[in-house]
Structures are given as C-alpha cells and as structure tokens.
Symmetry: C2
Subunit: 348 residues, 2 copies
Amino acid sequence: MTQFNIEDHPHRRFNPLTNEWILVSPHRAKRPWQGQVEKASVEERPAYDPNCYLCAGNERIGGHKNPDYKGTFVFTNDFSALLTDTPDGGMDEGSLFQAKSESGICKVICFSENHALTVPEMAVEDIRGVVDVWCREFEELGSQELINYVQIFENKGSIMGCSNPHPHGQIWSSSSVPVEPEKESVTQKAYFDKTGRTLLGDYVAAELDKKERLVAENEHFVALVPYWAVWPFEAMIISKRAVQNILQLTDDERTALADIYKQLTVKYDNLFETSFAYSAGLHQAPTDGKDYPEWHLHMHFYPPLLRSATVKKFMVGYEMLATPQRDITAEQAARRLRELSDIHYKHQ
Amino acid sequence: MTQFNIEDHPHRRFNPLTNEWILVSPHRAKRPWQGQVEKASVEERPAYDPNCYLCAGNERIGGHKNPDYKGTFVFTNDFSALLTDTPDGGMDEGSLFQAKSESGICKVICFSENHALTVPEMAVEDIRGVVDVWCREFEELGSQELINYVQIFENKGSIMGCSNPHPHGQIWSSSSVPVEPEKESVTQKAYFDKTGRTLLGDYVAAELDKKERLVAENEHFVALVPYWAVWPFEAMIISKRAVQNILQLTDDERTALADIYKQLTVKYDNLFETSFAYSAGLHQAPTDGKDYPEWHLHMHFYPPLLRSATVKKFMVGYEMLATPQRDITAEQAARRLRELSDIHYKHQ
Ligand SMILES: O=P(O)(O)O[C@H]1O[C@H](CO)[C@@H](O)[C@H](O)[C@H]1O
Ligand SMILES: O=P(O)(O)O[C@H]1O[C@H](CO)[C@@H](O)[C@H](O)[C@H]1O
C-alpha cells in the first residue's frame, strides 16, 4: 500500500494563527487552464504622470493639491471608509441583528515621488523611508484615544483592486480590533499562556531549522511561505526577535525590514518577469495601551498569480463556501521563490 | 448632535452564522472608480459549441466522450481536488505543523445540453431537473462511508474563475466537514440548544416581518440580502420550513427551490443587464449519519459586481488583512434587486 506523502496527496493543513484549516491538492497543478487570463503588467510608466492624483504637485479628486514632495508623502484618504466624527450608536435586536458604530482614520502613503517605481525597484534606503513613515503613523494614530488598531497595508496591481499604479500603501485605523488581528490575538495569547513564548518565535525557529519553506533571510527577519499558505505564492515576513509592533524595532531592524521587503518582492517580480500583484500588510498588537507580550510582529503577502503573469488563482466556489484550496504545495512554492535571483529582472 | 443612522454612518455588523463582524461604509459608495474594469458578459453563445468539453457528444480533456445527453449530465471531475484512494496519514509536529490526509469525490453537473443558457434563462421545470440531480447526488455521495460532507456549488462567469461558460455546477464531497459549514454548525447548534428553534428559522421570520431586505419570495422559500452581507449584492435563499438537507424537501418544495433560484438570478441579470457572475452553493447538515436538528438548509450567493457590468468589488488589502468591508448597505442592495423586473431583460 502507498504511504501518505504530503508532496503528492490531498490533505488539510492547520493554520495556528487563525485556528482554521486549508485544503491542499498537489496533483491538481497539472490541470489545464481555459478560463480568464489577466493583462500582464509590463507597461513602462513615466516618472511623472500629469493625470496621476498621487504624483507630486498634482491635484487630487477632492480638490486638494499634493505638495512638491520627494520620497514619502502621507495624507488623509479623500474617500475614507472610516471617519472620526461618527456618532456612537448601533442596533441590538437579539443575536440576529447586531450593529455597532465604528470610527477611525484612513490614510494614504505615497512611497516615492517617482510614478514609475514599485517597492522591488526602490533602493533599500528609500524603502527604509517608508518603514519610518509606518512607525511615525503607527505612533501618532495609535496614541489617539479613538484608535485601538492600526492596519498598515499595500494593494499592488490592478488585479488586486489597486486603482492607481503610483507606488503607495494605505493605513486604515479603527476604534475596534478588526476580525483577522483579533483571531491572531486569541491564538497567540493561548500559545503564550501555555508556553511563555510567542507562537511565531517558535515557528520561525522551527522553519530556520527545517529550511524547506524559507525564501529569504537577513540578520533580523525571515521571509517564508507559511506551512498553511492558501494563495499559491503567499508569504510572511516575520521578525526573528519577538516584538509587539514596529515601534519596538531598533534602527538596524527597521533597515532589515526594508531589506527583506525588497528581497521578497524582487523574487516575486522575477517569478513571472512581471510586476507581481499582491495585497500585503503588517499585523501588530492593538493600540489600546495594554501590553501584549504574546503579539509577534509580522507581515502577510497575499499574491493571486498562480501559473504565469496572466493566470491567477481564483478563490471562489469551494473556497468561499467550504475551505480555501491550493494546488502547488507551500514547499514547492518556497523552493521556486528561493531559487530565483536577488537581482530584479529588469536590471539583470 | 447627529444621531447614529445605519443607512449613513460607518458601522460593523455581526454575522451570527460565522460569528464574525463585517464593516459597512455607506458614504463610500460615492467614491469614483479609476481601477480595473472587467469585460462585460454580453457575448451570445451558440446552443452547441464543438470546442466545449461540456457539450453533448464532445470529447473531454481526459479523453472521455460525453453522451448525447438532454437536460442534466453528471460525471466525475477529470481534475478532482479530492480523490477516493488517498492513503491515511498526516503530520503532527506539535501545534504548528499539523496536516491530515483528506479524501473525497468531485463531480461536475451540466445543467442543460444547451451551451447558450444560464440558470436565469432556463425554464423552472428544467432547473427543477438540476435540483433533482442535487438530491440524487447528495443521497448517493452522502450515504458513502467515506463522505461526511457534500458541497454543491456553482461558479458562474469568468470573473468568478469559471473556465467554461456552458451552464454547469460542481460537487466537492469530502471526508471532513469543511471550514465554513463547520462554523455554521457551531453557531446553529448554540442557537438551537438555547432556543429550541433554528437560527435561520427565526431569522427568516424576522425578515419576512421587516421586509426591507427581501428580494423575492414564494410559498416555501425566501431570497434576501442578509443583514450581514459582505459582497455588494450578496444574497441567501432560505427555506421557510427548517430542513436539514435537500432530501427532506417535499416535491412542491423542490419546485419552489428551482423557482426562487430562477427569480433571484433573473433579478441579478437585470441589475446591470449582463450575465451576472457569482459563486453560489448550498449549505446543509453533514452526512455522517447523525441527526442535526439545528441545521437549516440555505444557499449563499456571492456576486462580485458593484457598480456596473464592468466594475466589481475587490476583497483585497483591508478585507484580507483586517475585516471584510462593503460600501452600499444591505438594505440599499435589497431594495434595488427587489424593484427589478421578474422577467429576464433579454425577453422583455
Ligand atoms: O474547478 P474549476 O472550475 O476548474 O475551478 C474553479 O473552481 C474551483 C472550486 O471553486 C476553484 O478552486 C478554482 O480556483 C476555480 O478556478
Ligand atoms: O482604497 P482603494 O485603493 O480605492 O480601494 C481598494 O482597497 C480597499 C481596501 O483594501 C478595498 O476595500 C477596495 O475594494 C479596493 O478597491
């Protein structure tokens, strides 16, 4: 009788951060694809686009004019999903109709004045500038009475709903802790209470030992495809030292975060020689003033491309109604990313 | 001071079926859209396509030849994500590396021999044929020792990862209960244990009373936009009588399910006068032979379009990393759908 083999046989894997399972069907990678193909992202952009509302000196939709900035530039989202002046209130009709007013502050961060760039093509010192803005904003927003969670993220590529190719990210900060960080709060706390160590500290140590899911590494950070990855080339950046949030990073660690962000995204672009779309974001402890020794800073990357610059994985049908499913294994994805050059394909 | 108003102010709503919150930002519907636009689905298809691997008489990729069927036709998926002969096994290294072998059977159901049709354009009696196949397959698969859950679903439209426009759905049945039905098992059981009634029975009664989220109704079923909807025009079909699975439906109820399936999807197509893409699927009790009095049969519809035939909602960035977010309220969406004609726009 054949023995179960995780590289070949359908199986479920457990995500200890969300406390949920995912389905892996490795044999399914051989399936031909006859469905929708995306536009490949190969366009060359000018360093300045007079029609871009994020370029320096241009007017935005709301009528505001961007300053003549160099490097980063932060402003309050002209179409914020959360506002500061929402009246308290809600609806509470038994357990079936519950609503609660929600407040917050949404910001946009331009990563560079150069419209043509993306993170993998930026210099590490310029990405370090972005990390510094994250720190400043996290501190400023997080210290406000109103704000108990600060979600920093980046949507890259039009197939990830990004409506402007100018390199930028967003911050949505809110009075309540969002669903995903809340799940991770619960699981990390349970682990910490049991072991006295952070879940991701132990996880990083095990992965550094096993090596098979590593993608990149520097002195202070690891980039890897998590054992429980759902998206084909999903990755996580995890700090080697357990810190609750980016404000606890040393100067060296901030630079190392910029460095690993570049390393990972260069490999992403090299995979299909295209500007690789993803949603990425930091997960950190809530900013309600309490201490969260169980929280371990990390960054998730959810990229949709599967087989080429034009064929993505669809999280539909079975994924929405039942269990998220992937074809290639996390180990195969990590191996492919690991073996790619560290030098961006445009500069090779 | 302004009073909190659920139609205007940002708020969270609670989904009692998944035990999770969602974020609603009604004021954000005014945001202009400059991002990716989809291809509108307006193509006219022939009733028979010699290149379609689902059309009657044609050869499939695996080399099998479809019979000369009329009505429905079911076969085992040539690229099944789950297989019957997977060896038992797994990985169990502490809480961080857990995997379990998974078995199952995946099938494809052609809804009609007519390549040009979709559910909203089919006659109710022909959709009833699809419901009968669901019942037969649910019974046959569910009675197998190996199978403890039967997930019936449909991906419609290329933007929902559907690789063939021929009207068809799928069944993925598995030895373990998938993540989403498992969440609903827990919440429905807790509600039933407390009240002696099904959660969705009480919910349907309340919505029939309030009326503001109703979309369509017949003697045995309701179609509505749930209070906690995430996708812009998300909907649920819920049986008025609490049944655990489709096998418990009477003959009349089976026809009523076909009827409401058509009613809802006709309204969907009429909304933007396009073939409206969605993933839809039935949620039912597990098939492990136990009794599940708390389980209440329903069908979810997750359609991505937001503003027009070409502008969809992206569940990215904040949604993936934090909390699912919607712009228009469930009430606004329901009102728009409710007010649309019951007659398909192509036949008006
Ligand atoms: O089985 P299909 O139609 O080839 O594939 C489609 O549905 C599956 C089940 O929802 C998904 O996993 C795939 O990503 C999607 O492309
Ligand atoms: O804020 P943007 O870039 O206009 O919008 C994009 O990101 C948001 C946050 O992830 C999503 O809610 C939107 O669906 C997406 O299109």
